[in-house]
């Protein structure tokens, strides 16, 4: 039996208060091998998806960017080059292990990108502050997605853009094949490469529980964003949603 304080954790139902802790445990576990696994799982495609997100963002020199659930900092790195020395990129993540990996990467690359541990549902930034907010492969792990989207909308300037890059609903003819990949191959690769099949089982399940393209578009509209549009990438395995604050 479920009650109003329950939420999903993959295919399991857990108390809302426990979800963040459980998601935290997953990412503490996979942090050190996160990028390697991403490369293996997506055959390197995640780099192209992230690059596409930066191209679609329309950011220019001097813009302020907020990278939410930025983890290992791939996007922050790309955005930092795009906004130049006059701009600012802030890397955030709720998970200290993931943020640690990202922060070290930024330092190693000689980039001045502040790393900040914070909850996307309670962003510690003023209203109307950023030109662009992006969350890549992070929204599905958030307990209250509606609250998180509303917070992202709040911190955007008028005319600012919110980009959500996330796994989504795959093109129907490929769904069977994708299921085999997600529930058989993915946990197996997690076991072999990261010695952690459970975490990768959760990743596969959380992808299935995440809203599809149209539902997420509606959620963004409900959060106060306008002109929301999305791009299906790799036949809908991933979708990039973009909305404006007007």
């Amino acid at each position: 039996m479920t009650n109003e304080h329950d939420t999903h954790f993959g295919f399991k139902t857990v108390n809302e208060a426990d979800k963040a802790k459980k998601v935290g445990e997953v990412f503490h576990s996979v942090a050190s091998k996160y990028d390697l696994m991403n490369d293996v799982m997506s055959a390197g495609l995640h780099r192209g998806w992230k690059r596409f997100a930066v191209e679609i963002s329309g950011v220019s020199q001097g813009d302020k960017i907020l990278d939410i659930a930025g983890g290992s900092g791939d996007l922050s790195k790309l955005f930092a080059k795009k906004v130049g020395a006059d701009g600012q990129v802030i890397l955030t993540d709720i998970n200290s292990s993931m943020l640690g990996v990202g922060r070290d990467r930024m330092l190693d690359a000689g980039l001045n990108v502040p790393a900040l541990q914070c909850d996307a549902e309670k962003l510690p930034f003023p209203d109307n502050h950023f030109d662009c907010v992006i969350v890549a492969f992070g929204l599905r792990n958030m307990t209250h997605k509606d609250l998180a989207l509303a917070e992202m909308q709040r911190v955007l300037k008028i005319g600012g853009r919110l980009l959500v890059l996330e796994f989504s609903k795959v093109w129907q003819p490929l769904s069977k094949l994708y299921d085999v990949y997600s529930f058989k191959l993915l946990p197996f690769m997690g076991k072999v490469l990261a010695k952690d099949s459970e975490s990768y089982q959760y990743l596969a399940e959380s992808i299935r529980m995440h809203p599809d393209q149209e539902t997420l578009k509606q959620m963004m509209l409900d959060a106060g964003l306008s002109k929301v549009d999305y791009y299906n990438l790799a036949a809908g395995v991933v979708a990039l949603h973009k909305g404006y604050k007007t």
Binding site: I56, S60, G159, D229
Partner: protein, 210 residues
């Protein structure tokens, strides 16, 4: 996949033609759909004045329809073909974007120089330009020679002058027929007013003559 590749190509072209930013930036967030019958694509203007292919649910602010028959004429830079392109919605936006596409140039020497270096890239560029120019010149000469032969020696195609004469005669005939039709309608009306009883049989007789 294709959207990502086309977006990258568009943004690369825009970065080589920085003059386009000031034209496009006032329209940021707006999109234009291009329909050619064979294919359709929507282009969205980004906040930094760059371009990207629009997403799945984009609603275009302007729609440019180019009939497939016009494509070859447009490629051949036939100015009169531009008059037949139809634009719906925000015409100012569509015409500014069309202006950008018409004047944008691919600086292939610059791209090549990143692979082979400046001097070889310049050399390859000038050789390619010369080759294209000589192919173009040869094609024009050949076409002129053949048309002259088929007009003078073995006349199977009409001369421009004859075609123009024929067109003028057709125009004159068309206006004469139109005048005759009006005159005939006038006579029929007068006849109808004069002999109202016989009008039906007369008009059917006229219809049969058509």
């Amino acid at each position: 996949m294709f959207k990502s590749i086309f977006t990258r190509l568009l943004q690369h072209l825009i970065s080589q033609n920085s003059w386009t930013n000031s034209i496009l930036q006032p329209f940021s967030g707006k999109s234009v759909q291009f329909n050619s019958g064979l294919m359709s694509a929507s282009v969205v203007i980004l906040d930094n004045g760059s371009l990207a292919i629009a997403g799945e649910t984009n609603v275009a602010d302007a729609i440019v329809t180019i009939p497939p028959s016009l494509l070859i004429r447009l490629i051949a830079k036939d100015e009169s073909a531009k008059m037949q392109i139809s634009i719906d919605g925000d015409t100012h936006l569509a015409s500014e974007l069309a202006k950008v596409f018409a004047n944008m140039r691919w600086d292939y020497e610059d791209d090549l120089s990143k692979i082979v270096g400046d001097i070889p890239a310049n050399k390859i560029g000038s050789i390619t330009r010369d080759a294209v120019y000589s192919v173009k010149e040869t094609s024009i000469n050949l076409a002129e020679m053949l048309s002259e032969y088929w007009q003078e020696e073995n006349p199977i195609i009409a001369k421009k002058r004859h075609l123009e004469e024929f067109n003028t005669q057709v125009d004159t005939l068309r206006s004469d027929v139109a005048r005759f039709e009006k005159k005939l309608a006038q006579y029929l009306l007068q006849h109808q007013q004069k002999y109202p009883k016989n009008s039906d049989s007369n008009s059917s007789a006229v219809d049969n003559t058509h």
